[in-house]
Amino acid sequence: MILLELFWSFFQIGLFSIGGGYAALPLIQQQAVDLHGWLTMTQFTDIMTIAEMTPGPIAINSATFVGIQTAGLPGAVIATLGCIFPSCVIVLCLSYIYRKYKNLSVLQGILGGLRPAVTAMIASAAVTMVIMAFYGQRTLPADPGAIDPVAVVIFAAGLLVLQLKNVDPIKVMACAGAAGALIYMVI
């Protein structure tokens, strides 16, 4: 029964979150905290922190966490399956249409229109991430002087090598993590 509930809850989360992980957060809170009481609010905040610290989509991370907490490993697998089921079906259909009609003028037009929209969404997320990295919070603080200079240097160096040397982004993230640990440890 609990497995069915987990599947159905995360099915809805997967179906109604459009535009990336942060769109899923209120839905996860509604399902896991408010509706079913699977998590306390503190646990929910904990997961958000953990999800940011570990790789993978936030929705999958929280599905696994909620599943484990409520029904062990089977719960984690079922919740994850529920979460990815809607995207699998919808994107498979879109993939099929894309492959069949990708040379159609109208489809190319739609995709051409989506490109600036998608760029705008990612750009907006990028702004939030830069603020988060520089100030440790999601919105600009009242005092812009409270900036973290180490983060600014790591960010600038990372962007520079990505743009000029075309290095592997994985290496940039790994080096940034290592550099951060070293520098913050010393100062």
Binding site: I18, G20, A24, I122, G180
Partner: protein, 186 residues
């Protein structure tokens, strides 16, 4: 040969997913590097289309992008294998961490690494945005640039529903194309 392809697809998506920190779309530059530049399994144009569709569809972007990339490379089985590779790393990692997540969260060294990594991830995402903007500007047309500016303002400052933005932009894109086709014919 087929078997080797599936194995390579699984290992690639598994590895990329294990490195996707800071939100799903970080997987996009990783996929571009692996599947477009290194393995030449999909074209640059297809990758841009995959990005647009993955971001506009419901669900986790990394999962959407994997489904579509897998399908492009090896049809339905490819899509399933790519999803499995993408979902397993977070499933395994969180399953393990959930037993001692308080210690993990409060660990000084982990939080210091994360602070540095956050700046690195921000740089990766900004790099993606710059490259996408460059590709939009390279068309040398005012329409897509204007759409970007309006969509950005709508998302960032006015909190307009993303679904609405996707629908409107898709519609405008189709209309724009129709007008272009007509002009080309005339």
């Amino acid at each position: 040969m087929e078997k080797g392809l599936y194995k390579k697809l699984f290992l690639s998506t598994f590895q990329l997913s294990a490195c996707t920190f800071g939100g799903g779309f970080v997987i996009i530059p990783l996929m571009r590097r692996k599947f477009v530049r290194e393995l030449h399994w999909i074209s640059e144009q297809e990758m841009m289309d995959i990005t647009a569709i993955a971001q506009s569809s419901p669900g986790a972007i990394a999962v959407n992008a994997s489904v579509m990339t897998g399908y492009q490379i090896a049809g339905f089985p490819g899509a399933m294998i790519a999803v499995l590779g993408t979902v397993l790393p977070p499933l395994l990692i969180i399953s393990v961490i959930s037993f001692f997540y308080r210690q993990f969260r409060d660990s000084l060294i982990v939080s210091l690494v994360m602070r540095g990594m956050l700046a690195g991830v921000a740089a990766v995402v900004c790099d993606v945005v710059i490259n996408m903007l460059r590709s939009i500007c390279s068309q040398k047309r005012i329409f897509p640039i204007l759409m970007f500016v309006l969509a950005f303002a709508a998302v960032r400052f006015f909190g307009v529903n993303i679904i609405l933005i996707i629908l409107v932009c898709g519609l405008f894109g189709a209309l724009d194309r129709k007008i272009q086709d007509k002009e080309a014919k005339a």
